[in-house]
């Protein structure tokens, strides 16, 4: 059993008030809050060993380099990557996806096919559209059903020897659906296609084992896992990372430079041009330590209870419809109330101190599918409570009485 009261003590922000009301933070799918342990790590870095890494001979630089590389090892261990250099530090999921999409420009040719799921975040749609435009490859969409589950039967039909890449999120940010990625990966591999899984929404709730999944690329952002913004990672199988050309040129990513020719550094530095987010990388490691100390099994179990309770209570509200009712889902509830614009609902909830997300959640194709302008999305983390669910339900009822 998680001691939620004690856990909440770790998050200073949860003590604050918004609009004169205690903050009820239910926008965890957008970004998670930061525990004191991670904040301390950030402060410690700037107070004690701030330096540029990998090139200084002096002590501070050595210390910073060690901590940064230790963080890489923590990430490697967490995701069970075979090699530490298969972990590339990036600025986050969007950067990771662009790195891969850009790299594939030279490996994809006209007429090749790229499959992308219907429930992607814009960040996992636009880079592939840009790749298709550059290469003449064809982008095809794996559709979903009304519950917000991927149509695996159609996926099977779409796969062919023309398929070169498959992109899919592990968990949908707008609907909370957990996709059957192992099946998606295995079937893609059976036709020789590579697979990138966007793990931005999955990594706060579960621990993916990249070797067991046999996934080619996996991405995530630290700020959704109690870490800071502006840092994330790309896992790539060594053979794929060696095939991809560098993404950005600059310092750190080179072996030798003359004006005639530059040879590139080995992995992972080939993809890490310039001074990285050193403090962010180290804090990313600290965030994983924090989450692992609590335990992902416990977190998933508790969040599932919260999801079930919130679903049950919200469904009691007349006229409320939940979007995304997959059998397998995480603690995300997207909903609307008949005749109420999600933006109005969100504005009133904010006045009551309740933070939710409204709009299309950077997933316009999903909103088009349901023919709605957007939804109100409440997303729960392990530090949320049943009492906060009650505040949300009361808030929704209050807003409903005002708006109708």
């Amino acid at each position: 059993m998680l001691d939620i009261k004690k856990i909440r003590e770790d998050f200073p922000i949860l003590k604050r008030e918004v609009n004169g009301k205690p903050l009820v933070y239910l926008d965890n799918a957008a970004t998670s809050q930061t525990p004191q342990q991670v904040i301390d790590t950030i402060v410690d870095y700037y107070q004690n060993y701030n330096a540029n890494i990998h090139r200084g001979v002096h002590t501070l630089s050595q210390e910073a380099t060690d901590k940064y590389e230790q963080a890489r090892l923590k990430i490697q261990k967490h995701f069970n990557a075979a090699k530490s250099y298969e972990i590339i530090f990036t600025s986050g999921t969007t950067h990771s996806i662009n790195l891969v999409a850009n790299g594939f420009s030279s490996l994809i040719k006209k007429g090749d096919e790229i499959l992308v799921s219907a429930m992607e975040h814009h960040s996992n749609i636009v880079p592939w559209q840009m790749l298709s435009e550059r290469t003449g490859a064809i982008l095809k969409v794996i559709p979903m059903n009304q519950e917000g589950e991927l149509r695996m039967d159609v996926y099977n039909e779409l796969l062919s020897d023309k398929t070169k890449l498959v992109f899919c999120n592990h968990i949908s940010n707008a609907l909370g659906t957990i996709n059957p990625i192992k099946e998606i990966i295995d079937r893609a591999h059976s036709v020789g296609a590579a697979v990138l899984i966007d793990g931005a929404q999955a990594t706060p709730h579960l621990v993916p084992d990249v070797q067991a999944l046999d996934v080619d690329f996996y991405t995530c952002s630290a700020h959704k896992i109690c870490g800071p913004t502006g840092v994330g990672m790309l896992y790539g199988k060594e053979e794929w990372l060696n095939k991809l050309p560098p993404y950005q040129g600059g310092g750190e990513m080179i072996a030798e430079v003359t004006f005639e020719k530059t040879t590139y550094a080995d992995l992972p530095h080939k993809f890490e041009a310039g001074t990285p987010n050193i403090c962010g990388g180290i804090a990313f490691g600290a965030a994983l330590d924090y989450m692992n100390a609590i335990g992902f099994d416990e977190i998933a179990k508790y969040e599932h209870e919260l999801l079930e309770y919130a679903t049950q209570e919200l469904e009691k509200i007349d006229g409320l419809k939940i979007y995304g009712t997959a059998k397998d889902k995480t603690s995300v509830i997207s909903f609307n109330i008949e005749h109420i614009h999600p933006y109005d609902m969100g504005s009133i909830l904010d006045k009551l101190g309740i933070a939710v997300r409204t709009g299309h959640h950077c997933a316009q194709p999903i909103m088009d599918f349901y023919k709605i302008p957007g939804t109100v999305r409440a997303s729960f983390a392990f530090y949320n409570t049943r009492e906060e669910v009650d505040v949300l339900v009361t808030g929704v009822l209050k807003a409903k009485s005002m708006l109708l």
Binding site: H341, Y343, K351, T358, P373, G374, M402, L403
Partner: protein, 141 residues
């Protein structure tokens, strides 16, 4: 009443409220009483860009005065437009152009709106003034 007087009346009304919940309730009421745009004018051309919710505004001359009608799919947004229309509709285009929008700050509207809504508010005012420019030119010709 001229624009200035209407604006002062709105400031007076808003000063009666103690908290933002009441102000929201009032805006929602105003939204419900907004002079609705005719369905035929709810076109892509009449949509104001920069709002998270959809906003349509239509303007036409009645005599020498400009009359605005509008609609939105979100009710608080409708309330905001209702306030603007009350201040600017049924006025001469030149007066609309000359009017300042200080009253928006005085009723504290902008600071209590989310940034996307505040941007939308700026777009709405800009659009009303653009209509005034267009019709003023038409009158002068």
């Amino acid at each position: 009443m001229d624009i200035k007087e209407i604006q002062e009346e709105i400031i007076d009304e808003f000063s009666m409220f103690d908290d933002w919940m009441q102000r929201y309730e009032y805006m929602i009421e105003l939204g419900k009483s907004l002079p609705l745009i005719k369905e035929e004018y709810k076109t892509e051309d009449n949509i104001i860009k920069g709002c998270q919710s959809k906003v349509w505004v239509h303007a036409e001359l009645e005599g020498n005065k400009l009359v605005f009608t509008a609609d939105s799919d979100a009710i608080i947004t409708k309330g905001i437009i209702a306030i603007l229309i009350r201040a600017f509709s049924n006025q001469k285009p030149q007066d609309i152009l000359d009017a300042d929008t200080q009253f928006i700050d005085e009723i504290g509207l902008k600071e209590h709106l989310s940034p996307t809504r505040a941007n939308g508010l700026v777009s709405m005012i800009k659009q009303l003034k653009l209509y005034a420019v267009a019709y003023q030119t038409q009158i002068e010709e």
